[in-house]
Amino acid sequence: MLQVGLTHFLVVSAILFSFGIYGIVTRKNAVMVLMGIELVLNAANINFIAFAKYGNFGFSGQMIALFVIILAAAEAAIALAIVLNIYKTFLSVNVDEIDHLKE
């Protein structure tokens, strides 16, 4: 019987983190980039909770994860508002086309 240990959680979080970075780097759509950022934040959350549980660090890890979830929600709200504003001005959310500020 396979015992689920700390390593399993860390592998999942490392995979999530890598997917998140991959999404941020490759995606052209601003909303998809934001989803990549969300993956990175959740990878960190998994780390926090797994370390707190298996390292016997008390509840601080879970507490940080709660804070991060709230902040991620706030960030997503502001991010989507800004993306909506971009769509109104540029009629597109492709981050490659929004380059009026380059010299």
Binding site: I37, A44, N47, S60, M63, F67, N85
Partner: protein, 502 residues
């Protein structure tokens, strides 16, 4: 409970700032027909907070200590002279920004949303205050996000042109990625050490040995979050676009206050986490686990070189000042790479001077942009003759940014280079000096346009109001005076280097 009351007493400035924020939002609702009172309320709020910050010079201590901690009993917030110094920098720049906003055309065009504007500025200030004092990773991350979220909105606040929204989007994407990386780094450090408190991590690092590779990886990720705030290379890509696109008052605020908070956080992070002791000469002994010295020297040289060389080709003054502020982040990092009290003093002195000269330069650019709505360098042809006061002040600010005597910028650079030479880092000092020579080209180029090219019909005669003239003088006189009489500033910086814990 006694602990809680004590803690609340220690964070009085932050409490006052939050109350001022609430008052501001409420009065925005009450005065929804006439918004002209809002700037006065904001200015008053900042002034009262400033009084409480000055009062903090008299005491220091840790707030919000966790009693269950079996290790040393340290709190989440450290109130010390170092923090007070940076809080005063934030207060000074915020007051100036309120005055700037009062006369900015861009902001006055969106006067019906003025309450939101100042509320968001107060949100940024609150984030900065906690960033400056935070000694726990949870609070560091929370305050960084509070600062970032408010500034994302502010950088796209006016929505008058395409470039406002574009600046907000770029700031948001870069900021969110780097704070995500920082959080992942924090989670790894938490896993390795079992704590988020910087002091506890320090004491663990001195005794135990950790997996060096994982720890270094985590620290680099954390540095990504801080490096983005101080716009050091390789995390500086957002700076030119955001500085050019954001409303000019916000650009000025980001380039000084936000950078101050980032530097305060970086210094506190390095000093409390990685320094084992401070010897009698004031040199900091670093714990072996992470080679800060090499990395910071490399980053600082890269930052100033990239900033200075990219600024050479800029025709937009806001963009040029953005690259110049990247270069100055490199100079300021030199104060940290020395890892001694002397370097820290030099950095604090430089920061006060940087605040004055950078805000002054942005003020002149704003006053000209108020008149003609553009920041292109060709519009400055002959400006020195059509509006003498602005021309001369701008010349003084640019000479000070280059670091030539008799302006304050010279004193700032002098102290930094002396600290470098005393630490036997002559090569770095020479590279920084050569960088200053490069920067002379693009600063003087503006002077050439202002004084050596004849004024054309399109050259604006910027007739400023009495208040604006006074504002320019308030900034330009200290820049000149501090170039000659600077010992009070040095004494002030010497008293402000105490960071709690060591």
């Amino acid at each position: 409970m006694a602990n809680l009351y004590q803690s609340l007493e220690l964070i009085l400035p932050e409490i006052v700032l939050s109350l001022a924020l609430v008052v501001l939002v409420t009065s925005d609702l009450i005065l929804h027909k006439d918004k002209r009172l809002i700037p006065y309320i904001a200015g008053l709020g900042i002034a009262v907070t400033g009084a409480f910050v000055i009062n903090q010079f008299n005491f220091s201590g840790f707030a919000f200590q966790t009693s269950s901690n079996t290790l040393r009993n340290y709190g989440m917030v450290a109130v010390d002279p170092f923090g007070v110094f940076f809080k005063l920098i934030v207060i000074a720049s915020s007051i100036l920004i309120v005055f700037f906003s009062y006369s900015s055309e861009e902001i006055n065009k969106t006067i019906d949303r003025l309450g939101e504007y100042y509320a968001l500025i107060f949100g940024m200030m609150l984030g900065m205050f906690f960033m400056i004092t935070a000694t726990d990773f949870i609070l560091i991350y929370l305050s960084l996000e509070l600062l970032s979220l408010s500034s994302y909105v502010l950088s796209g606040f006016t929505k008058l042109r395409d470039r406002n929204s574009e600046a907000a989007l770029k700031y948001l994407l870069y900021g969110a990625v780097s704070s995500g990386l920082m959080l992942f780094g924090i989670s790894l450090i938490y896993g390795l050490t079992g704590s988020t408190n910087l002091y506890v991590i320090n004491s663990l690092l001195q005794v135990n040995s950790f997996n060096g590779f994982t720890f270094s990886f985590a620290v680099i990720l954390v540095f990504a979050g801080i490096g983005y705030k101080i716009s050091s290379a390789p995390f500086h890509f957002w700076t030119p676009d955001v500085y050019e696109g954001a409303p000019i008052t916000i650009t000025a605020f980001l380039s000084v206050a936000s950078k101050a908070a980032g530097f305060a956080l970086l210094i506190r992070f390095i000093k409390t986490t990685f320094v084992s002791f401070v010897d009698v000469n004031g040199a900091w002994a670093l714990i072996e686990i992470f080679d800060w010295k090499t990395i910071l020297v490399a980053i600082s040289i890269l930052t100033m070189t990239l900033g200075n060389f990219s600024a050479l080709w800029q025709d937009n003054l806001k963009r040029m000042l953005a690259y110049s502020s990247i270069a100055h982040a490199g100079y300021l990092l030199l104060g940290i790479v020395v890892f001694s009290n002397q370097g820290l003093i030099a950095m604090l002195v430089y920061f006060v001077i940087y605040l004055l000269m950078n805000l002054g330069a942005f003020l002149v650019v704003m006053l000209v942009a108020n008149k003609i709505g553009s920041e292109e360098i060709d519009d400055y042809n002959g400006l020195g003759y059509t509006s003498p006061l602005l021309g001369i002040s701008f010349a003084i600010f640019l000479i000070s940014l280059t670091g030539l005597p008799p302006t304050a910028g010279f004193i700032g650079k002098l102290y930094l280079f002396i600290a470098l030479v005393d630490a036997k880092m002559i090569t770095v000092a020479v590279i920084a000096l050569l960088n200053s020579v490069v920067s002379l080209y693009y600063y003087i180029r503006v002077l050439k346009h202002m004084y050596l090219i004849r004024a054309t019909e399109s050259t604006p005669a910027v007739v400023s109001s009495f208040g604006n003239k006074l504002l320019v003088l308030i900034i330009v006189i200290p820049v000149l005076v501090l170039g000659i009489y600077f010992s009070p500033l040095i004494d002030f910086a010497k008293r402000s280097i105490t960071i709690l814990g060591l």
